[in-house]
Amino acid sequence: MSAIDTFLYLSPMAIGVSMPILAASLGGLFSERSGVVNIGLEGQMLVGAFAASYVSVRLYPAIGAAAFWLSLPVAMAVALLFSALHAVACVSLNANHVISGTAINMLAAAFTVFFSRTVTGSGVIDVRGGIMRYTFPGLSNIPVLGKILFTDTYHTTWLILFLLLASWFMLYKTSFGLGLRSCGENPHAANAAGISVTKYRYVGVLLSGALSGLGGAVYALCFDKGFTGSIYGLGFLALASLIFGRWNPWGILGSTVFFGYASTVANVATVMPAFAKFPTVLLKVFPYVATLLVLVFFSRTSAAPKAAGEAFDKDKH
């Protein structure tokens, strides 16, 4: 196989994997742009994965494949409620955002495994079917692009890409977005302009819950075919993408696709002759080393919202 062929072969998988990361990363974008650091993305994804799997299994006998689609909004709602814990801690109680986020991650791991045990007895929920791949007739024959974008895709990919577009529009073209970003940059200025910093930060965190819940659900239904008790650090990859993408929707798209390819290489390379000459260990650690290097080189930039992670105290200047 030539390099191009290898690339095309990896693409459907890589694009597919990058979408859940993209969803969660957009969630992180809303949260951090509003001024709340959210390292609880991992936990929120996990809750989304669990909720989607549970709803799918429960409803599948009654309504068939529609259960998978119905499980997505449910997963978003459950993760949104879960993220409300983070919002209350960080916004209303002025807790340290990193500590609260860590607690969210620990709580999510315990909570989901506990409930899936009570449901299935094994701590694992198997979903039969899940969301299936789809190849667009006609469009998939376009050279190169057809293979990357229209072959073996998931409909959720288009949903998440639409959300990306919507997020960009919301953040940069509406007064809501301007207000949200001002809360992350200088909450005192926002407050003086009559904006409720508390309200916007709540909205930011809750959106991060809904979007990362969606990401977790999509990963569970497309790839894991159920809940396995882990989301494999995708939430942290989403956080890394946020930094690598410089807190900007299009940058985040680029960085999540990059991580999508990196993790696909790690997963399928062992069976591909093109990668046979590399030691397996090297391929397996590749996405993590890549993440580390990216963060080392890109986290020094000043693109982060200036007030992210800071409690807003009206009386302090």
Partner: protein, 505 residues
């Protein structure tokens, strides 16, 4: 015609303090009304009542003759009252237009139209603001104009300026005065809060002076001298002019040679700075905020690495010396941010006052602290420097007011009888009485032979106290002037980046 604002018999009590008692003030249409008072005199509370941040215990507010209940800043804005805050409420990463649009209720942003409106408004008032410029890229004076524009864009016709000149160069201050007058000619009315008497003399029509929560008088500025207003504010005679004996021709004790310092973002904040401070002299370092003076002062004190160049104290090289070593050599430092670097806010005042000496006899022996000695020492500084703290040395530093915190830091540093004192904005945010006192102590220290580097954003302070003035602009020392040639105009131009001896226009 009724006054645009009339506040009648406002009383506001906070637990234990009468912040405003029976204050009445009127703002006539088309006047600039100065509000003068020391810190804690009640200016902020009074404006808080006007903006609906505090509900008065009694008294009422009339706007254009009608009694109004103002429940919060939006109500005030709806009545056409706007404030230009001392700390700008701007988002540095946003453009001028985005900042002015912030808080708009329309869901979809029409940036193009807003930018055009802002450009037109700016042109009408002669503000010269570029609506597409990012706030972080424009000067402080320009940022202030954006604040003014923000108020005008919201149709405010009663403007309140809260100590607007604290951050400006003399030229920018003059520009601001011009803008204020032009606003008046366009039918606006202004309340001008300031400490600086000569600015009141220059621009205000009337002045209301507050002292300890009460009005001590409202005067016509044209008929009242600055000394009289100062006396009304402080309650006793204040000497506004610093009397200082001629400098002695001392030896240089503190010398910087081609010092380069990096800033927080690894940019070159100070470039090749050289100067020396002599025994018994005050060298003033003048400059607009953000031109490298903070980094330079930190580097001299040992809080920031000196990237290249050398620093000597009494002939000894201390370029790489630790903070402690520098202190032992006789260097003292009154830091810019007293909350962050001057004091440990959660420690008691006594512990804070012994902070530089805690590990030495008599304050500690064999590793054990001697609380008696520490308290005695603290007591001495507290009484010498008139630090007011509710429970003496045991007061938590956090519970003290800004002025008293500053006096504590100043007292601690001066009490050590340093050979060199780096004083960074030693009177920032203090009232006239405290400023007078700290100036006196600085001059006394100078008489004792201390070499003092005075870093201040307040050019008047620099010119009054200094024997020589160094001007810093964009990280470079633009020149060092003797007291005789250092006048406001020359120094101001050098601060703005013009070289020594540039044409004055």
């Amino acid at each position: 015609m009724p006054p645009v604002i009339e506040m009648r018999n406002i009383t506001k009590t906070f637990p234990g303090v009468a912040a405003n008692s029976n204050i009445s003030i009127t703002l006539e249409e088309g006047e600039i009304h100065a509000l003068l008072g020391e810190n804690g005199a009640g200016k902020t509370t009074l404006m808080g009542v006007l903006f609906g941040l505090h509900r008065p215990d009694s008294g009422s507010v009339y706007i254009r003759g009608e009694k109004r209940r103002i429940a919060g800043p939006p109500d005030a804005a709806a009545l056409g009252i706007g404030m230009v805050h001392q700390h700008f409420k701007l988002v540095p990463a946003f453009t001028v237009t985005e900042n002015i649009m912030l808080g708009t209720k329309r869901f979809l942003l029409n940036t193009k139209k807003a930018a055009a409106d802002i450009a037109a408004l700016s042109a009408r008032h002669g503000l010269g603001v570029d609506p597409h410029a990012k706030i972080e890229a424009v000067s402080v004076g320009m940022q202030q104009r954006v604040e003014i524009l923000k108020m005008l864009h919201r149709n405010a016709d009663i403007l309140i300026f809260d100590e607007p000149t604290a951050v400006l160069t003399p030229q920018e201050t003059a520009e601001l005065m011009k803008i204020m007058r032009s606003l008046i000619s366009q039918g606006k009315s202004i309340i001008f809060i300031t400490h600086k008497l000569h600015e009141i003399k220059a621009v205000a029509d009337r002045c209301t002076v507050l002292r300890a929560g009460k009005v001590s008088g409202t005067v016509n500025v044209a008929d009242t001298s600055a000394e009289q207003m100062a006396e009304m504010m402080v309650g006793r005679k204040v000497s506004l002019n610093v009397v200082k004996p001629p400098p002695r021709e001392g030896q240089p004790v503190f010398a910087a040679q081609n010092i380069t310092v990096w800033g927080a973002r690894r940019e070159t904040a100070v470039r090749q700075a050289s100067f020396e401070v002599r025994e018994g002299e005050i060298l003033g370092l003048a400059g607009v905020d953000g031109n490298g003076q903070s980094e330079l002062a930190e580097a001299l004190a040992g809080l920031r690495k000196i990237h290249s160049g050398s620093l000597t104290l009494r002939g000894k090289d201390i370029t790489r010396a630790s903070v402690k070593k520098r202190m032992r050599q006789g260097l003292a430092h009154i830091p810019e941010d007293r909350g962050k670097r001057g004091l440990i806010l959660d420690f008691s005042l006594a512990d804070n006052l012994a902070l530089a000496l805690y590990d030495r006899p008599p304050f500690s022996r064999h590793g054990l602290r001697d609380f008696n000695q520490i308290n005695l020492y603290a007591q001495k500084i507290i009484s010498d420097f008139d630090v007011r703290a509710a429970s003496g040395g045991q007061t938590s530093a956090r519970a003290m007011s800004g002025g008293n915190r500053q006096k504590a830091v100043v007292g601690r540093e001066m009490e050590r009888k340093p050979a060199v004192l780096i004083a960074v904005q030693p009177t920032r945010g203090l009232d006239v009485g405290s400023i007078e006192y700290i100036h006196k102590r600085l001059l006394a220290l100078r008489e004792d032979g201390c070499a003092i580097l005075l870093v201040s954003l307040d050019l008047d302070e620099i010119l009054e106290l200094s024997d020589r003035v160094a001007v810093i602009s964009r990280g470079r020392i633009a020149g060092v002037l003797g007291a005789a040639e250092a006048d406001k105009n020359t120094v101001g131009l050098m601060m703005a980046g013009a070289g020594k001896g540039a044409e004055v226009t």
